[in-house]
Structures are given as structure tokens and as C-alpha cells.
């Protein structure tokens, strides 16, 4: 993809050190999160099929794919919110220091959720409680989770709101969510999520309801604040270009199966999986003349579907694709599940 002339303005914009530098893993450091062969079923539907990926401490990872791919399901599983009887879970989720949490009970999750793993949702106005002030929603977890006194919680709440870019913070504490703009509400959610210094932040489409200008502010804020804390972040995104800008690694999902995963520089620069390539072919750049949309279609989640779930829509499908599931194998610096990849 040939980047168009971005003009002098962008070239001259110097990035703060926190954004420019990547935190390199030390050789002995274990990944913060290691997911292996995670499968999730609801009745006869296999919603996640053998999902495997890992995330290093301080790293950012993007989950990409069309709606229904299973991105939110992964995020909700990682914060222990899909633990109902109708959900069947197998495989392992290793969170550094907490072991395999796939089988953890609710009391174990109460110690992890909001403390070591926190989440930001797409729709801040729905996630914030409309009846409580911003101050109360920020201070309650600070007191309960961090054990701060009332006045210490208040001081910390003001600090947090300032760090996410709200002005006039003492008076914002008594504001209700509806009195803030969408961008401001999202900032408050970020402040709440960061209040317990989590190791892992999950951001499920945190900016899809916002203007691009506010999106840029929010994504930068999340990157700056997580890097400052050496926390890792999983972004759920549907914009490949945005993912290339904010994720070290990406996981491309289709129908609950990992299609392609690896460093975003490698995967998004030159996709080898037909699905990743098709998604990239839908991204508009300012000089796009022709789009190459995929044919319509939704994956089958029937647990008995044997082969590659993308086969019905795949322009490169071979005869064996529908019957045999391709394994996730190492190819050219990435992992790829495809019988007939692009070269």
C-alpha cells in the first residue's frame, strides 16, 4: 500500500517519547497472557474454535474481523464475564501470576476483574451508570479495590481525571454522565479502568462512536497511559489502518477461528491469508480508485462444520478447504491457517 503524501504537518509532528519507543521484552520475561486452544460453545454453536495467541507485557494487540467474528466474546472471556452454564469453555488462558484462569471460580475472578484486568466498552454512555455522579463511579472502585480512604480516593479521582485530559476536574466529580460529551464519557471510562493499575486493559471498539479527531485523542490517551504503567492492551477494532497505527501484533478472526496472526508490520503490510487480504482491499485510502469488496456471507458456527469457515466466501478456496481445517502454522514471520495462501 503506497502511503500518499502526508504533507509536512505530519512529518514535523514529533511524537512524545512514550509513544515512539516500544517496550522491548527482556529475554526471560514470560508473556503476560497466553491463550491456547481456547474454544467456547453455546449449545450447538462453536463460537470460538481453538483460538491461540499470546501478548507480552507492555505490548498492544488488535483483534480484527467483521462483526460476529468472536472479538467481544474473547474480550468478555478474558475478564471472566462469560461464566454462565450455557457457555462451554475449554483450553487455557494463562495470566502471568494467576495461572490458568479458564477454570477459576467467581471468587478468584473477583480478585482479577477490575484489578488486574479492566475493560473499556464501545458505548460509554451505556456503560456508565446514568444515576451516579462521575465522582461516585470513580471513587467507589478506588475505595473498594484500592482500599483508599474517602479523601484519598477523592484526590486520586481528581488526579485520574486530569491524566485523561478533563479540565475543571473538581467540579466534574459532581457531574452526571449525560452532562458530558461522548468523548468526555469515554475519557471517564478510561480513568475508571486505569484506576486500579491493571496489567491488562481490554478496549472493545473504544472509538467507533466518535469523530476521527476524538478517536485520535482517545487512542493516544490509551497508548500513553498503558505504556506509562507498562500495562498491556488488547484493542478490538474493525479499522485495519487504525490497527496498524496502534497495535504491535494483530489477530485476524473469522467465524471464531484465527486466520492470521503476527506483528502488524508483517501481517498488514503483506497479508498472506485471503481473508486478511480481502479486509485490506476494503480499506479506503484517499487515492482508492477501485474497491474489491468480498461477497456477502456469514460464517457457520455449527460445531460440526469441519473445514475452513471462510471457504464459502473465499476467492482462493480449493476443494479440500471445506472438508479439512487448515492448521495454524508458522509462515514468513507470522502464523497462518490456510491451504492456499497468497505469496
Amino acid at each position: 500500500m503506497k502511503p500518499m503524501d502526508l504533507g509536512a504537518a505530519r512529518a514535523s509532528t514529533s511524537l512524545p517519547a512514550a509513544l515512539g519507543q516500544r517496550i522491548e521484552p527482556t529475554p526471560e520475561s514470560k508473556p503476560l497472557l497466553k491463550i491456547e486452544e481456547l474454544s467456547l460453545s453455546r449449545g450447538e454453536s462453536l463460537i470460538l474454535d481453538n483460538v491461540t495467541f499470546s501478548l507480552r507485557r507492555g505490548g498492544t494487540l488488535g483483534l480484527l474481523g467483521e462483526s460476529g467474528a468472536g472479538k467481544s466474546t474473547i474480550a468478555l472471556t478474558l475478564i471472566g464475564l462469560l461464566r454462565t452454564p450455557e457457555v462451554g469453555l475449554s483450553g487455557t488462558i494463562e495470566l502471568d501470576g494467576a495461572g490458568n484462569v479458564t477454570e477459576a471460580g467467581e471468587d478468584a475472578w473477583l480478585k482479577l476483574r477490575g484489578r488486574r484486568v479492566a475493560m473499556i466498552f464501545q458505548d460509554a454512555s451505556a456503560a456508565l451508570n446514568p444515576c451516579f455522579t462521575i465522582g461516585r463511579q470513580l471513587m467507589t472502585p478506588l475505595r473498594r479495590v484500592m482500599g483508599l480512604s474517602r479523601s484519598a480516593a477523592r484526590a486520586r479521582a481528581i488526579e485520574l481525571l486530569e491524566s485523561v485530559g478533563l479540565n475543571d476536574t473538581p467540579s466534574r466529580l459532581s457531574a452526571y454522565p449525560h452532562q458530558l460529551s461522548g468523548g468526555m464519557q469515554q475519557r471517564v471510562m478510561i480513568a475508571i479502568a486505569l484506576s486500579s493499575n491493571p496489567d491488562l486493559l481490554l478496549a472493545d471498539e473504544p472509538t467507533s462512536a466518535l469523530d476521527v479527531t476524538i478517536q485520535a485523542q482517545i487512542i493516544r490517551l490509551i497508548l500513553e497511559e498503558t505504556r506509562r504503567r507498562s500495562a498491556s492492551c488488547i484493542f478490538v477494532l474493525h479499522d485495519l489502518a487504525l490497527a496498524s497505527q496502534c497495535c504491535d501484533d494483530i489477530v485476524v478472526l473469522y467465524g471464531g477461528q484465527v486466520m492470521e496472526t503476527g506483528p502488524s508490520r508483517i501481517v498488514l503490510e503483506a497479508p498472506m491469508h485471503p481473508y486478511t487480504a480481502a479486509l485490506k482491499g476494503c480499506v479506503l485510502e484517499f487515492d482508492t480508485e477501485e474497491l474489491r469488496p468480498l461477497p456477502s456471507g456469514a460464517p457457520s458456527f455449527a460445531s460440526k462444520t469441519p473445514g475452513c469457515r471462510f471457504a464459502p466466501r473465499c476467492p482462493r478456496a480449493l476443494e479440500k478447504c471445506a472438508a479439512n481445517k487448515p492448521p495454524l502454522a508458522d509462515v514468513h514471520g507470522r502464523k497462518l491457517a490456510c491451504w492456499n495462501p497468497l505469496t
Partner: protein, 331 residues
């Protein structure tokens, strides 16, 4: 080219009376909120125009004025050189048939109790465009044109996917054989693959049927793909307008530049974001209304208000200290 424009806005102003925040209900003074403040633009036959800008910049209000849903408080809004608010009789019928709208919320804008057949045929019936016997054939042709199987006719809105819904909305818009399509964020909220399909369809329709297109979007990539011309709005004003490719290649207005920088680009570092948010259009300070967020603002920007001024046959902007932009070399 001297074809008469279909739409023309002459310094349109739309002000709302609102109560300012703060104080009690009784002491709150009424204030004027200028959602549109001196907008001048035109749309000719076969032209495509994108209106872009952050939320709160007045895009939807502009559309409501064009559709005659609200009257300008000052200036004139013309359809084929007649005031839209005064259209009556056959002029009004012609306006309703010629101007078709595609709404942002496709699901909400289509009656869930009507079948696809009736939804698409409604404009045919309303404008008495075909005999009862031809109705099915016309709907079949329209559905085929937007890429839907004729079997869809018997379905209801609840059984359609997001992409199918947009196609039904487009088929319905085309039923009255319009000359202008007007759309407000018609592809937002769709998956990229569905969005690409719908955009491709809209561009084909526009080109093949010679339709005029007025497309409101917050996505500059969508604007570039679909529209030859672009108008960038900020706080009720057009701050930059011109040929889309030229404007996006080298914007003259700092606000256009900021929108461009904020748009995701493969592997580009995330730029320094534009600070703050669009302020409320009540009690605007004198001078340029972008000055509070502008990286190029100088002292005169706080006292002098720049007007939208043509800089070349294909470019116009409202800025006292524009970014350098070169005129396209003649071919």
C-alpha cells in the same frame, strides 16, 4: 458549463432559540444558536458533493434545510431556482419525486410491518409511476439493480442483514426516479466489507444514472471515493471547499489538515490530535471560529473573521493564514 444548479444555498443561516445552561429555569436567558451561519453552495446535475466535519458542525441541519424540513432564518435555499419553503402544487410534487433521501438509520427508517415489496413500491404508488400490473416487475428490476434477489420481496425488515437493509433503502430511494440522492452517514456502522459493497453500488448508480449526490460523511476516505467535490464544515460554516482530490492532497485550511491527520492511515504514527472538541455555537467569540483549536492562529485571527474566498477555479477556503498549497499544474 452553464447547466442550472439543482440546489443552491445563498448565505443560509439557521438559528435556534435555546436557553443557556446554568441559572434557574426562569433566569436563563434565551440565546441564539447558529447551527448554520452563512452557508453558500450549489449542486449541479450529475455532481457529487461530500459534506464533512465533526459532529455539531451543522451537517444534518444543512440537510434538513435542503429537504425543506426546516426553514432558513436568513438567506435562501433554492431548488431549481425556487425557494424550497415556497414550493407548492406540481413544483412540490416534482421536488418530492426528484429528491430522494437515504437515512443513516436504515432499520429505523423502514416500517417493520411492511414487506420489502411494499416498501420499495410505496414511492411508485405515491407518485403513480406505474400501473398495478407492472408493480411487481418494477420492484424486481429495482431490487436487481441494487444487487438483491427478487425473492427478497416477501421478507420483512427484521429478517434482513445490515447490508441488505441499506440496499432496500437505496432501491426505495431509486423508485421515484430521482435526479438527486441525499444521504446522511449512509454507510457508517457497517462492516468494512459491507461498506465497500454499498459504496461501490452508490458510485455505479451515480455514474450510470447521472444522479446528483449529496453525501454527508465523517470519513474522508468515503468522501474521496464517492464525491468529486467536498465541503468541509466547522461550526455552521463551510471553511474549505473544492475538488476532493485536490483538497485532500494539499488542504489549505488548518481544520481540513487536522481532519486529515486524524484519519487512520496505514503505519503512519498517530498524529498530535486536534485539541478539544467542537464548542457550542452559542456566544461565539469574534474572529475566526476555529482560532481556539488552531495551531496556526495569530493575533489577527481573534479579531478578523475570514470569509470563504475562491483561491482558484477549483478551490476556496476561509482562513487568514492558510497552509501553502500549489495549484494543480495544467495538463
Amino acid at each position: 458549463m452553464t447547466t442550472a444548479p439543482i440546489f443552491r444555498l445563498l448565505d443560509v443561516q439557521k438559528a435556534y432559540e435555546v436557553r443557556a445552561k446554568g441559572g434557574s429555569l426562569f433566569t436563563r436567558a434565551k440565546r441564539r444558536l447558529r447551527a448554520l451561519d452563512g452557508v453558500r453552495l450549489s449542486l449541479g446535475p450529475g455532481e457529487s458533493l461530500a459534506i464533512v466535519g465533526e459532529s455539531g458542525s451543522g451537517k444534518t441541519t444543512l440537510l434538513r434545510v435542503l429537504l425543506g424540513l426546516t426553514q432558513p432564518t436568513d438567506g435562501r435555499a433554492l431548488f431549481r431556482e425556487k425557494d424550497i419553503g415556497d414550493l407548492a402544487g406540481t413544483d412540490r410534487d416534482r421536488f418530492c419525486r426528484e429528491v430522494a433521501m437515504i437515512y443513516q438509520d436504515a432499520r429505523g427508517s423502514l416500517n417493520p410491518r411492511m414487506s420489502v415489496l411494499d416498501l420499495v413500491a410505496e414511492p411508485l404508488d405515491h407518485h403513480k409511476l406505474c400501473a398495478k400490473a407492472e408493480r411487481r416487475d418494477r420492484v424486481t428490476a429495482l431490487l436487481t439493480r441494487v444487487g438483491l434477489a427478487p425473492e427478497m420481496m416477501s421478507r420483512y425488515v427484521s429478517a434482513l442483514s445490515g447490508g441488505q437493509l441499506r440496499r432496500v433503502a437505496i432501491a426505495r430511494a431509486l423508485a421515484s426516479e430521482p435526479s438527486v440522492l441525499v444521504a446522511d452517514e449512509a454507510v457508517s456502522g457497517l462492516d468494512v466489507s459491507t461498506q465497500a459493497q454499498i459504496l461501490q453500488l452508490l458510485r455505479d448508480l451515480q455514474r450510470e444514472m447521472g444522479l446528483s449526490l449529496l453525501f454527508i460523511t465523517h470519513d474522508l476516505g468515503v468522501a474521496a471515493y464517492l464525491c468529486d467535490r467536498i465541503a468541509v464544515m466547522y461550526l455552521g460554516r463551510v471553511v474549505e471547499a473544492g475538488a476532493t482530490r485536490e483538497v485532500l492532497k494539499a488542504p489549505a485550511h488548518p481544520y481540513t489538515r487536522a481532519l486529515l491527520n486524524a484519519s487512520p492511515r496505514f503505519f503512519a504514527p498517530i498524529s498530535d490530535p486536534l485539541p478539544g472538541e467542537v464548542p457550542s455555537p452559542i456566544d461565539l467569540p469574534p474572529g475566526c471560529r476555529f482560532a481556539g483549536r488552531c495551531v496556526r492562529a495569530q493575533s489577527d485571527c481573534h479579531t478578523r473573521e475570514p470569509a470563504l474566498t475562491p483561491a482558484s477555479p477549483t478551490r476556496a477556503f476561509a482562513c487568514l493564514h492558510p497552509l501553502p498549497f500549489s495549484e494543480p499544474s495544467a495538463h
